[in-house]
């Protein structure tokens, strides 16, 4: 072993299920916006500048929202989807558990303490959120951008 280094072969970065759920959801929303913008840019040459113009805000504001450097509210999310001519679908559903899939960690290393599963871990206690942005144009046929 190298001098001064203690041996840890594996480290589980566990921030707790509540924090994990929040962070990954926020990241997923941002990734979905970036994916949609890339698609629009490729298909219709929609630029960030045009998005900003449609929403009557400065381009830097759009940039900060997309990079995650400023807060994304439900209103700003809806506005961005509108400006990209995309439709938002949002759903909360109970997670489906199948045989052989990963089981959630039952302990937390931060404030929330031990997570208890009253059904023996067969079902997660938390709800699962899903959000997807789909092109409105695909639903409307060939309707042009507003």
């Amino acid at each position: 072993m190298l001098r001064g280094w203690s041996q840890v072969t594996s480290f589980q970065f566990d921030i707790g299920s509540r924090a994990r759920n929040a962070g990954r959801f926020i990241g997923r929303v941002r990734d979905e916006l970036l994916r949609a913008l890339s698609e629009r840019k490729k298909d219709d040459k929609l630029s960030q500048q045009e998005l900003a113009k449609k929403l009557d805000v400065h381009r830097s504001q759009i940039n900060r929202q997309l990079t995650g450097e400023s807060n994304l509210t439900l209103r700003s999310l809806a506005d961005l989807a509108w400006a990209m001519d995309m439709e938002i679908s949002f759903e909360l559903k109970k997670p489906v558990v199948e045989a052989g899939q990963n089981q959630p960690v039952t302990t937390s290393t931060i404030g929330h303490g031990q997570i208890k599963y009253i059904d023996g871990g067969k079902r997660r206690a938390s709800l699962c959120q899903e959000l997807a942005v789909a092109p409105v144009a695909a639903r409307r046929g060939n309707e042009s951008l507003r």
Binding site: F13, I15, I26, L37, T67, P104
Partner: protein, 161 residues
């Protein structure tokens, strides 16, 4: 010539894991040096930058980034929006709104995290060069040659999915 197993057995690096969702399998591998693991422990204990920009905490941002990396998610949307960036000297930077992680790819899809820091601090003090030099020095210290260091600077050189 070192192998990944040698480095783990010597305590030079440790495997980093995060919880994957029910149907996910790890598509990539993450390792960290002891100092980097200490930085992760600080995040778990609530360390956050003074003026946080992101909506989520630094720990949540890093968990989301690691989850995306390990589950094989897209790390690059376009030139402007990317979680990963090549530096000189076979050093790569992983990014979240408030954190920066520097390290190198031992193999394609196999990254070693060496330094973690706040994004503001890295940018304000221009720490890029210092981290690059320190990582190069560490690789020399660990006898790492090009069998455990990907030299390419294109995303396709270091990521297969």
């Amino acid at each position: 010539m070192s192998t990944i197993e040698d480095l783990v057995a010597a305590g030079a690096i440790s495997r980093i894991e995060v919880e994957l969702n029910g149907r996910e399998q790890a598509q990539r591998l993450l390792y960290g040096t002891p100092d980097f693991i200490e930085w992760l422990r600080k995040l778990v204990n609530g360390a956050d930058p003074e003026n946080r920009l992101g909506q989520s905490t630094a720990a949540e941002q890093v968990d989301q980034l690691f989850h995306l990396f390990l589950s094989g998610g897209p790390l690059i949307h376009n030139r402007q929006f990317r979680y990963i960036r090549a530096e000189e000297n076979a050093v790569w930077e992983l990014k979240t709104p408030d954190t920066r992680i520097f390290g190198w790819f031992m193999r394609r899809d196999c990254f070693v995290c060496v330094f973690g820091d706040w994004a503001d601090k890295v940018k304000d003090h221009d720490l890029y060069r210092g981290y690059r030099i320190a990582i190069r020095r560490l690789r020399r210290q660990l006898n790492i040659d090009n069998t455990l260091c990907v030299e390419g600077v294109e995303p396709g050189d270091v990521l297969s999915v």
